[in-house]
Amino acid sequence: MGEELKLFGVWGSPFSRRIEIALKIKGVEYEYLEEDIFHNKSALLLKYNPVHKKIPVLVHNGKPIAESQVILEYIDETWNDNPILPRDPYKRAMARFWAKFIDEKCVPAIWKSFMSGGPEREKANEEACELLSTLEGELKGKKFFGGETVGFVDIVASFIGHWVGPFQEAVGVDLLTEDKFPMLCKWAEEFKNCPVIKENLPPRDKILAFFKAQLEMLTSFYKNRV
């Protein structure tokens, strides 16, 4: 039987782009299905991810996998070439720890900083800066979080590397700047310039245009979710 691989995603979503990056690193062919995630989720998406009703969802030979970090590990375990996670258990634990730190701490703090107003924004900004500082500390002069090549943590950190820039420009907040986070900004450039990454990130100006046009919608989506 031929292998059937489908990815339900959203063109601008850092979470679904993570999966595309991983699949491209592995050299795996897949069918991409774009979801209208804010206004009209497809019946197929609701069937494949009834619990969270979110993207990305990877469907491999009819079997669905949801939650981007779970999907990344599945991809790494199913296609063995070009490993995304290290082989050593301790290094794997460190990679999982930092990926969790990014998704559970950094990403929500950055969103809060962009979506808040007035004094709340200042406090949220401070928190986000502290977390980004910790993350920068983890780079420890390495080219990538994964060492010499892009790995699990780099892929998860792509939101910071590619989306935070246009997002902060649209919102008018100076969060990730070269003077505050020189290492992270250098990492972001290296990351975005990798051929497999470059070809799989949405264009910066398209993301910026989206954030500018949809700021009101995003703010209300954020407020209702929290």
Binding site: V51, K63, I65, E67, Q69, E73, Y90, F97
Partner: protein
């Protein structure tokens, strides 16, 4: 060099520490247990988990691993011979990780709301908890454990929350067993296993701890 395994933990209140204790017991790993006073964290804890300053922390030959589900996978990969926590098939592994993540996203928050909120907010949290437990019952199906014939990753992820059920039921004035009998039947099967029963805190003591926390925080 002799192997050195230390677990920094808080026996009574941490569901997350309980997960690690069950895993180490299942694997038959000898370790030194260090009880932490969370009001006065030890230098060792602050050194080993400087970022979150939380327990549990597993220290293996001087190297710390933090975050309970990360620790569980580390234990499974480091001591692979006995009692596999995760299945070998990648799809089954993905399903196990998904459900453990689901539990982490839902239970702590809902539990806290049930114990501390009142009126509408509490009712909504109670309903959400029951709905989540029913979803898990569906996932369990006819299997004795989420891991199949034996305890697995998801069983370890969920079962410590059972120690808080008495607190939830008393604060929320409802019975989880009435709503989700299959789920409670599963917890009873887990409790028959020594590594689980020895690792879980006594629900009465946990309830006492919850009441104490409420008092300290000025919650009725």
């Amino acid at each position: 060099m002799a192997e050195e395994v230390i677990l920094l933990d808080d026996f009574w209140s941490s569901m997350f520490g309980m997960r690690c204790r069950i895993a180490l017991a299942e694997k038959g790993v000898k370790y030194e247990y260090k009880e932490e006073d969370l009001r006065k964290k030890s230098d060792l804890l602050l050194q080993m988990n400087p970022i979150h300053k939380k327990i549990p922390v597993l220290v293996h030959n001087g190297r710390p691993v933090c975050e309970s589900l990360v620790i569980l996978q580390y234990i499974d990969e480091t001591w692979p011979g006995k009692c596999s926590l995760l299945p070998s098939d990648p799809y089954q592994r993905a399903q196990a990780r998904f459900w453990a993540d689901y539990v982490d996203k839902k239970f702590s928050d809902l539990g806290r709301k049930i114990c501390t909120a009142k009126g509408e907010e509490q009712e909504v949290a109670k309903k959400e908890l029951i709905d989540s437990l029913k979803l898990l019952e569906g996932e369990l199906g006819d299997k004795p454990f989420f891991g199949g014939e034996m305890l697995g990753f998801v069983d370890l992820a969920i079962v410590p929350f059972y120690t808080y059920f008495l607190a939830y039921e008393t604060c929320g004035n409802f019975s989880i067993e009435v709503e989700c009998p299959n789920f409670i039947a599963w917890t009873k099967r887990c409790l028959e296993i020594e590594s689980v029963s020895k690792s879980l805190a006594d629900p009465q003591k946990v309830y006492g701890f919850v009441l104490h926390l409420k008092k300290v925080n000025g919650i009725e």
